[in-house]
């Protein structure tokens, strides 16, 4: 029990297919991530990284196998929503902010979803926005922001409800080199300073090297550790 409680993410022999089993994507994947660990998930395009992150967060069902996040089995809708509201933050390759809303409105969406207090939400947003350097952009509609600013904004949103686990799917994949470096540095810094857990899907070996651990996937299976 205590072993399991130390585990931020536990994935055990997970199978996932699409199109009624015709497209097999995850073929018996297992992965353990301890609390506070920063894990890079590498592998060629199409090997199933995004799908793995989706099943961990409960955005996708699994066909078979076990997913446990923060000691809770991800089995029913209620658990999933609770996890998404309080335990998991998600950052995608594309910011996925709502372009017509201001950055501040976007960042408050998770607070509204979780039924959190507005004052606390605003305070936390301010703090995170300062930390990520987008405080001066909060009142602007997202469509007016630069790519780097959007991705930082997405990071703020993911951290609004102070999740234990951050899932990032190529969070810097759509950024130019200088922005990529800055945003990634910021991400590591935010996660490390708060002692949070991070699972990061990336193609970039350079970024992977800077994580605590790297796991490699190939064609729906774990291939091993290291780059």
């Amino acid at each position: 029990m205590s072993m399991q409680d130390d585990m931020a993410v536990r994935v055990e022999d997970v199978w996932k297919s699409f199109d009624h089993g015709r497209i097999e994507v995850l073929k018996g994947v297992s992965l353990n991530v301890t609390k506070g660990e920063i894990v890079a998930l590498c592998g060629t395009s199409g090997c199933g990284k995004s799908t793995l992150l989706n099943v961990i967060s409960g955005l996708e069902d699994v066909d078979r196998g076990l997913i446990r996040v923060a000691g809770q089995d991800v089995v029913d809708e209620k658990t999933r929503i609770e996890l998404l509201r309080h335990r998991i933050g998600y950052v995608f390759q594309f910011h996925h902010l709502m372009p017509d809303l201001t950055l501040a409105e976007n960042c408050l969406v998770p607070v509204i979803a979780a039924g959190g207090g507005k004052a606390e939400g605003l305070a936390r947003m301010q703090e995170l926005a300062v930390a990520t350097g987008v405080a001066h952009r909060l009142k602007q509609p997202v469509r007016e922001l630069s790519g780097g600013e959007r991705q930082r904004g997405a990071l703020v949103r993911a951290l609004m409800n102070d999740p234990d686990l951050l899932l990032c799917d190529e969070p810097t994949g759509a950024l130019d080199e200088s922005n990529r470096e800055k945003v990634f540095e910021l991400l590591l810094e935010l996660v490390r300073s708060r002692g949070r857990t991070l699972v990061l899907a990336t193609h970039d070996p350079e970024l992977a090297r800077r994580c605590d651990r790297t796991v490699r996937m190939r064609d729906g299976r774990m291939e091993g550790e290291g780059i």
Binding site: N54, S57, L59, E60, E77, I81, L84, R85, H86, Y90, F92, Q93, F94, H96, L97, M98, D100, L101, E105, V109, P110, I112, A113, A114, R157, N161
Partner: protein, 365 residues
């Protein structure tokens, strides 16, 4: 969230709301107009009386036949203050196929209530042929006191012109009862008898007496009559059905708006789910937006119909016929339908939004 979404798509929201508004306006106008007509007709019957006597089981008062002698018998009863026979009919005049004709006695109070523009009350005689025209009837028949007009098969001298408050009466012809009976071959009968009760007496006494002495007839209080008279029922039902249909068309516009809103936002809804929105929260959001659109539409429609009815009332041809009757019942009815269409219109979009798979929706950039 709800407000922001609606604010973001002002045109779409406006179109949805306008759809509902037109539906509400149509409904309230139709209900208001027909309701007003019914009220007006009721008032013709009332004319200082509390009860009305007519033939049992007739579908239309024009077909009711009551012996005038019953009125005389009634007047002898201690519980009756006054009983007035009225014969309703439709008569034609050159260029005017339909004019309402009221066959009444000179003692009937209704003419005294009008404002005599020409001639005087005394010139309307039970045994004469002289007719009195409502102001508007005089206008379209081009007649004035002292001239004579063709009505049906006969020619009648015009005894006077009165301005009546009630549209039906103002556009109608008042004939001495006897002359009217003769013109329509209804000697000795009338359509209804209006009964005013003597002080301290109750309607039950009239009913009992009627049941004992004239089985063929029935006596109802005005209230009862309005509720049970099938013509009124038909008119009111028609109003609500026609209005309701208009409303449902408006409702479709809400559905349309909401479907566009959901389909155009699939990605955003998926993001909301990733941020922790439950299916229920997403559905509630869609329902909320829809209700808001419907509510805005209802408000607009109400304003529109009130303005429209007041404008119609000013049209000379309709003078007196229109009495905008948008009471609280109509408004509550419209609001109820708005909520209904708002919810109904959002049913499919909300279901669609709730069953959305966030991971799939986000795969496409």
């Amino acid at each position: 969230m709800v407000f922001t979404n609606l604010r973001r798509h002002r045109v779409r929201t406006a179109i949805g709301a306008v759809g509902i508004a037109l539906g509400v306006a149509t409904m309230l106008s139709v209900v208001g107009l027909l309701g007003g007509a019914v009220k007006m007709f009721e008032r013709i019957l009332r004319s200082d009386a509390e009860m009305v006597v007519f033939e049992k089981n007739v579908s239309d008062l024009f077909f009711s036949n009551v012996e005038v002698t019953v009125a005389d018998e009634l007047e002898k009863q201690p519980f009756v203050k006054e009983a007035q026979p009225v014969l309703f009919s439709i008569i034609t005049a050159p260029g005017r196929p339909v004019i309402t004709c009221f066959g009444i006695r000179a003692t009937d109070g209704r003419l005294k209530k009008g404002e005599w523009l020409q001639g005087e009350a005394a010139s309307f005689k039970d045994d004469g042929e002289g007719v009195v025209l409502g102001e508007r009837a005089a206008d379209f028949l081009n007649a004035k006191a002292g001239s004579s007009i063709e009505l049906g098969q006969g020619t009648y001298p015009v005894a006077g012109v009165v301005r009546m408050e009630n549209g039906f009466e103002n556009g109608g012809v008042f004939m001495p009862l006897a002359a009217c009976q003769k013109a329509f071959h209804k000697e000795g009968v009338c359509s209804v008898i209006t009964v005013a009760l003597a002080e301290g007496h109750e309607s039950g006494e009239v009913k009992t007496w009627m049941m004992k002495t004239h089985e063929r007839l029935t006596a109802l209080e005005n209230e009862e009559f309005s509720r049970s008279y099938s013509q009124f029922k038909i008119m009111k039902t028609t109003a609500w059905v026609v209005g309701g249909c208009a409303f449902l068309l408006g409702g479709l516009s809400v559905t349309n708006t909401m479907i566009l809103s959901v389909f155009g936002r699939i990605k955003e809804l998926a993001i909301a789910r990733v941020c922790g929105f439950s299916r229920g929260q997403v559905a509630r959001m869609i329902f909320g937006e829809s209700l808001l659109v419907a509510a805005i539409g209802t408000g607009m429609g109400w304003a529109l119909s009130v303005a429209g009815l007041y404008a119609l009332r000013e049209v000379p041809q309709l003078q007196g016929y229109i009495d905008p009757q948008i009471g609280s019942t109509e408004l509550i009815g419209a609001l109820g339908l708005a909520i209904f269409t708002g919810l109904g219109g959002a049913l499919y979009p909300a279901w669609y939004a709730a069953k959305l798979k966030p991971a799939e929706a986000l795969r496409f950039e």
